[in-house]
Amino acid sequence: MPNASNPEPLLKVSGLNAGFDAGPVLFGIDLDVASGELIAVVGANGAGKSTFLGAVSGLVRATSGTIRLAGEDVTNARPEALVRKGMAHVPQGRRLFGTISVEKNLLLGAYLRRDREVQDDVARVLDHFPALKNKLPRDAGTLSGGEQQMLAIARGMMVRPKLLMIDELSLGLAPKVVDRLIDVVQEIHREGTALILVEQDVLVALDVANRAYVLENGRVALSGPAAEVRDDQGVRKAYLGL
């Protein structure tokens, strides 16, 4: 739940530069997420959205700037260390282990946990995704696209995240399935988890987010309350095609 006594946001990214051998992708990104907040990150393909999530979750090297999690400097921390601190990243394209069971995929989400409540959490997480309950023994690769996305999010939930980052929730999914997943995102949000949604379907993301950041060519071009971003003339023209 939001912690009023802690003035520091859950995630605070300051002046972040990051990229790959081929060249820098992100230039001076400032972004923060308060505890329990739902943030949308939108922008064109190639704007740096996935690279940003990669940098925050320790998969892409930050060349300068800082990333702080609940006040602690975690810039370039190892991904597993960040998972232990409560960050979960649901990658674009699901990245499930297709040839092992749904249940094992879920348990791998809790790979770093040593507590005895993992099995309870499987049940708790599946309450969000009743469609998966009778499919636990099946290979993950045999699930439909929507079920695979459910499993990818459920696996992330097994981390008991403080911050859940979802890259392209709606990719390749039927409208009705996207609706259901958005409902679940809102349930998770209401339970107090902070979320970052990276999403091409800008309207879907801005509908549910508290605040939004628009990335353009690796920079924050605009940020503010989701409703204001949605009504911005530039955003309507450049991303919504209105």
Binding site: G146, E168, D179, Q200, L242
Partner: protein, 253 residues
């Protein structure tokens, strides 16, 4: 259908099973030459399986597929391609070490007899196709440098370079935002304007409404509804099975 002419592509009772499950379970529909037809339906409804049946990736477990009146059921994929049915794949797999132009030329070299005259002709055709899909300026780039929308364009270019009469597009607009989708629609219109029939799978209703003359809705391996997109998308069965209430409302507003 209003066309008097024989359909270019005809599916009659097509069945494809995996183990005990019929992924495609008796599908009937036709595509006339010059149409743009959209296939929509829930994840797992059998859309990609159906494209795989048409393009020869899967053998049928029942029914028939006719191309210009002749059965192509059971034909190997490369033969189907050379008869004039080109396709793209949902997961794009360009040749990573080659340039954009070389990738397109591979399609030209492989494709119909007309296209397979030689390397020089293949490159000439590649250049033509890259201009058509809007990738001419990036012809010499390595594919690794392409953005996602451009990779999708290249996937279309490779298929178009085989000189198809019918182009099957499997979710080439997934992961694009609305403005990128509008650009991609222009590309499909340009290809269509050269006389190519288009059968496409999409979950993006902006595409179905924007470009398709007809939509075929698959559900549990059957055709649930087919017809004009504007009518189909207001069909209560389609809203129940596929669109969902919230989406249907958003579509209306």
């Amino acid at each position: 259908m209003s066309e008097a002419a024989a359909p270019q592509l005809e599916l009659r009772g097509v069945i494809k099973r995996f183990g005990g499950v019929a992924a495609v379970d008796g599908v009937n529909f036709e595509v006339a030459k010059g149409e743009i037809v959209g296939i929509i339906g829930p994840n797992g409804a059998g859309k990609t399986t159906l494209l795989n049946c048409i393009s020869g990736v899967h053998h049928l477990d029942g029914g028939d597929i006719r191309w210009n009146g002749d059965s192509i059921a059971g034909m190997a994929p490369h033969r189907v391609a050379r008869l004039g049915i080109g396709r793209t794949f949902q997961i794009v797999k360009p040749f990573g070490s080659m340039t954009v132009r070389e990738n397109a030329a591979v399609g030209a070299l492989f494709g119909s007899a007309q296209a397979r005259r030689g390397v020089k002709e293949a490159f000439a055709l590649a250049d033509e196709v890259l201009e058509l899909v809007g990738l001419k300026a990036k012809a010499s780039h390595p594919v690794s440098a392409l953005t996602i929308p451009d990779r999708k364009r290249l996937e279309v270019a490779r298929a178009v370079a085989t000189r198809p009469q019918l182009l099957l597009l499997d979710e080439v607009m997934a992961g694009l935002n609305n403005v990128e989708i509008d650009e991609a629609l222009e590309m499909v219109r340009a290809v269509h304007a050269t006389g190519v029939t288009v059968l496409l799978i999409e979950h993006v209703m902006r595409v179905i409404v924007g470009i398709c003359r007809r939509a075929v809705v698959l559900d549990f391996g059957h055709v649930l509804v087919q017809g004009e997109p504007a009518v189909v998308l207001q069909d209560e069965r389609v809203i129940q099975a596929y669109l969902g209430e919230r989406y249907a409302k958003r579509l209306k507003s």
